[in-house]
Symmetry: C2
Subunit: 149 residues, 2 copies
């Protein structure tokens, strides 16, 4: 298939933000996306990047992404935190999510992370079933606490 | 009171790891702390630090800490992720946790973060009550997914 997984570059940011907004809509929280394009570009490709991403291209068009940052776990050390893994709706069910996740896992292994972690909504059964195919541990009972400035 | 909040330095690491193990015991998961001292020191004070911390000293003795890293939220931008806030058991109930949290909030505000976030176990009522005194949003329904390499 015409799928290519590659590192994201600055020029991809507008398309990546589109995918992020598509996921927020699926997660029933589109109004929560308040990040600006300028902040998004600067934090990924400015002087001090804090996130990195892989994109999935199908016949030259970006149809998915895996975006991550470095988490520090005081229990496990450096972990890759998978912030978002997204495949645009019309391209789901073709194994593209698996290619993106496998690519990200390989990257984390090759770069000395002790493991990876991410979060999934408890009602998102398709995603949970997908993650269960991997050697995953599920860990509930946590509440996220946020302060917005 | 003889409380000083200051930036953590490399020489504090051994004491910080003791506090981390004390918290893991309280959270009923002491066996989960597998990070080595070498990894801990290197990731905080090596060439590419990925965590930072404040320590609370009372009469010259370290009795608490607040340890954090930079999270990237694709919804909100750069956030301070408070990995651990710990006050050693015999010093609890004296307002030291509040001093540490206030200091961390000020730091995050002064350094351009869009906000802070952390997690709390759903049975940890004393901690939840403490966080409710702040302008916090609680957000449940998430499952943490981990892959350990």
């Amino acid at each position: 298939m015409g799928l290519v997984i590659r590192n994201a570059v600055k020029e991809d940011c507008s398309k990546l933000l589109e995918l992020i907004k598509e996921l927020a809509l699926y997660e029933k929280a589109p109004e929560q996306v308040t990040v600006s394009m300028e902040e998004f570009v600067d934090s990924g490709f400015g002087k001090n990047p804090v996130w990195w991403a892989f994109v999935g291209e199908f016949n030259g068009e970006i149809i998915g992404m895996s975006l991550f940052y470095i988490r520090y776990s005081t229990w496990k050390g450096r972990r890759l935190y998978l912030e978002d893994i997204i495949v645009t709706e019309k391209m789901r069910g073709k194994g593209i999510g698996k290619e993106l996740l496998d690519h990200t896992i390989s990257y984390a292994k090759e770069n000395g992370f002790s493991g990876m972690m991410w979060q999934v909504l408890d009602w998102n059964t398709p995603a949970i079933d997908f993650y269960k195919k991997y050697d995953t541990n599920f860990d509930g009972g946590w509440i996220n606490v946020n302060i917005n400035f």
